[in-house]
């Protein structure tokens, strides 16, 4: 039996907080700030670790779906090769032996393809096409960012509490609510 990752992370956090940080010279503010960030980062990783693979798998599916959505605007906009890549990518997350690195690699490829497609659409003269693509991206990102924000919520930077979900909920269930951030925007 291996000691669990959670156990090891908790031990590291305890060491940082109870032994290492108090031993730092109080005049060394850079070291103190970094020690605080290291402890916070370990705690964040502890919260994320069970979901990392799951998070990346959803990301792959979301990007493959975005590429396919572009074909609804213009059936000829996406090359057969990119469509094949997107279709192949969707089969990856269900393979239990697919590594996180492999998922990341595929995801990066899909993201690059999307960036090029977005640039191609932006160069079109047809304003209606541009608007439809913008709408697709904005809706895609609404779901995407709900997951991203939940994943790093423990850093304490988020300012949209009404739409900030617990991580498992953000990954697990489609949401039906509107973002309540008008007080800021």
């Amino acid at each position: 039996m291996q000691p669990s990752i959670d156990l090891r992370l908790r031990a590291m956090i305890k060491s940082m907080k109870e032994t290492i940080t108090p031993a730092i010279d109080p005049s060394n503010q850079t070291a103190l700030e970094q020690a605080k960030v290291v402890a916070g980062s370990l705690d964040l990783i502890r919260q994320q670790i069970d979901y990392v693979h799951w998070f990346e798998a959803i990301d792959v599916l979301a990007h493959a779906a975005l590429i396919e959505a572009f074909t609804e605007v213009d059936a000829n906009s996406v090359s057969a090769e990119i469509l094949a890549d997107a279709a192949a990518a969707k089969t990856l997350p269900v393979r239990w032996q697919c590594s996180l690195a492999a998922l990341r690699d595929v995801n990066n490829g899909l993201r690059e393809a999307i960036a090029e497609l977005t640039a191609d659409f932006a160069a079109r003269e047809d304003a209606d096409v541009r608007l439809r693509v913008a709408e697709i991206i904005i809706r895609h990102e609404e779901d995407q960012l709900r997951r991203e924000r939940a994943f790093v919520a423990a850093t304490g930077f988020d300012v949209f509490p009404d739409s900030l979900l617990p991580l498992e909920d953000a990954l697990d269930k489609p949401r039906q609510f509107s973002v309540q951030a008008e007080q800021y925007n």
């Binding site: 005049s27 060394n28 503010q29 850079t30 103190l32 700030e33 970094q34 960030v37 916070g40 980062s41 964040l44 959803i58 599916l61 979301a62 779906a65 975005l66 969707k90 089969t91 997350p93 269900v94 995801n107 990066n108 490829g109 993201r111 690059e112 999307i114 977005t118 640039a119 932006a122 608007l131 913008a134 709408e135 991206i137 904005i138 809706r139 895609h140 990102e141 609404e142 779901d143 995407q144 960012l145 991203e148 924000r149 994943f151 790093v152 850093t155 930077f157 988020d158 300012v159 949209f160 739409s163 489609p174 949401r175 039906q176 509107s178 973002v179 951030a181 007080q183 800021y184 925007n185």
Partner: protein, 418 residues
């Protein structure tokens, strides 16, 4: 997957420079960054080496004997290595003992890459009108300290009230009503002074100053940050492409040329904790000449807001947004163009994400700074920034929110996947 950005060849660098024309000194700083990308952060940060380089730099500028004492690292900031020291020296015939100074030295890469000359020239241009650290010497070529550096006088002051808390780089600093009442008017007054400053006669040779009535300023700004995103991003983000394209299509000619601070927010000024007088405005390295609405949009971003006692958001932890804007108009005597302000809100978010998710994470990924762990942590702020940008783009594109639609399809795809 091979990322060309990890080891950019000369022809790729040349194509990037041609694709994103910007100010001369912005181009030179970014080009140097790319040319040094494969360099590792050298073991040159020992204080003995820093002291030798600092002595070399100062000796180039003063003929009289001097002594450097108490050189030590200084906390604060995520972009530059900082050291504080005391200097015994002679300034214009006056003997000074124990004058405290700050050395700022560029890391190999950072969340912000700029030429030190720009910062040095701006500090000199504004020092009579705005409280800033007195600039003494700069080494933009890194001839003395291995990397570009600047030496300024140390200014006393605090970033937050003694009992206050914050996240990194001054984000999340909160002020009580007493501090807000004292600091708010000063914050606005200095911003108004910066935007209306007459800089005639100042040496600003490192800047390409745009003309009113043209789009030179915004074209250079968009190209600057689009270039940084292209050079530094670890992964593509569709919303960033959409934002850049919207900014290019919707830019307007400049109405009035202002000096723009570029990072004007709570966290970038110090104040005396007793008198609550602002003692210095910091971090001028992102300064440029262009549209004042940038600073207004930057200072009012939701991520730089904190709630007041009733939970209402305060821009830069000081004012409700409308109060901030109206007070600024009164102080500066220049009206705010609502359309430009909305435009720059999108620009400000897009630029912030380029810094935190692009340049900052690239620097940390390459182990290029003394603050890698802070930059990696700070990268997480990009996602609420992106959500805020998404909402702004939703408004300008008049896209109705149909939340969950994409995930519905996504889950069906997963269920039906072989």
């Amino acid at each position: 997957m091979i990322d060309i950005r990890n080891s950019p060849p000369a022809d790729w660098i040349a194509s990037i420079r041609a694709r994103f024309p910007t100010e001369r000194t912005v181009d030179s700083a970014l080009t140097r960054k790319l040319e040094q990308r494969t360099c590792q952060s050298e073991d040159w940060t020992r204080e003995r080496d820093i002291a030798t380089g600092l002595r070399d730099l100062i000796s180039r500028h003063t003929q009289d004997p001097f002594t450097i004492r108490g050189l030590r690292p200084l906390s604060g900031g995520a972009s530059k290595e900082q050291y504080v020291f005391e200097l015994d020296w002679t300034y214009h015939g006056e003997r000074r003992t124990g004058e405290r100074m700050v050395l700022g030295r560029d890391p190999v890469e950072s969340i912000v890459i700029t030429e030190r000359t720009r910062e040095f020239q701006l500090l000199n241009a504004v020092k009579s009108d705005v409280p800033v650290p007195p600039p003494y010497w700069e080494d933009s070529a890194g001839a003395h300290l291995g990397r570009p550096s600047i030496v300024c006088g140390f200014v006393e002051g605090v970033q937050k009230p003694p009992t206050g808390t914050s996240n990194v780089t001054g984000i999340g600093v909160q002020f009580d009503a007493e501090h807000r009442a004292a600091l708010g008017p000063q914050f606005i007054d200095y911003l108004a002074r910066i935007h209306t400053l007459d800089v005639q006669g100042a040496d600003l040779s490192s800047f390409d100053i745009p003309s009113a009535g043209t789009t030179e300023d915004i074209d250079r700004q968009i190209n600057w940050w689009a270039r940084v995103w292209e050079e530094d991003r670890l992964e593509a983000v569709p919303l960033m492409n959409l934002a850049e394209q919207w900014l290019r299509r919707n830019r307007k000619p400049l109405d009035f040329v202002s000096l723009v601070h570029g990072d004007y927010r709570t966290g970038n000024f110090l104040f005396d904790p007793v008198s609550k007088r602002i003692t210095t405005i910091l971090d001028w390295e992102l300064g440029f000449f262009g549209d004042r609405h940038f600073d207004l949009a930057w200072a009012t971003m939701p991520l730089f807001c904190t709630p007041d006692e009733s939970g209402a958001p305060l821009c830069s932890s000081l004012y409700a947004r409308d109060d901030f804007l109206r007070n600024y108009e009164r102080a500066s005597g220049i009206p705010i163009d609502e359309e430009r302000f909305e435009y720059y809100r999108i620009f400000a978010h897009w630029r912030a994400i380029t810094m935190t998710l692009g340049a900052g994470l690239r620097a940390a990924d390459g182990s290029k700074t003394h603050q890698d762990v802070v930059l990696a942590w700070f990268g997480s702020i990009s996602y609420p920034f992106l959500e805020s940008l998404r909402q702004l783009l939703e408004n300008v594109h008049c896209v109705s929110s149909v939340s969950g639609q994409f995930e519905d399809k996504l889950v069906k795809d997963w269920v039906s996947a072989p």
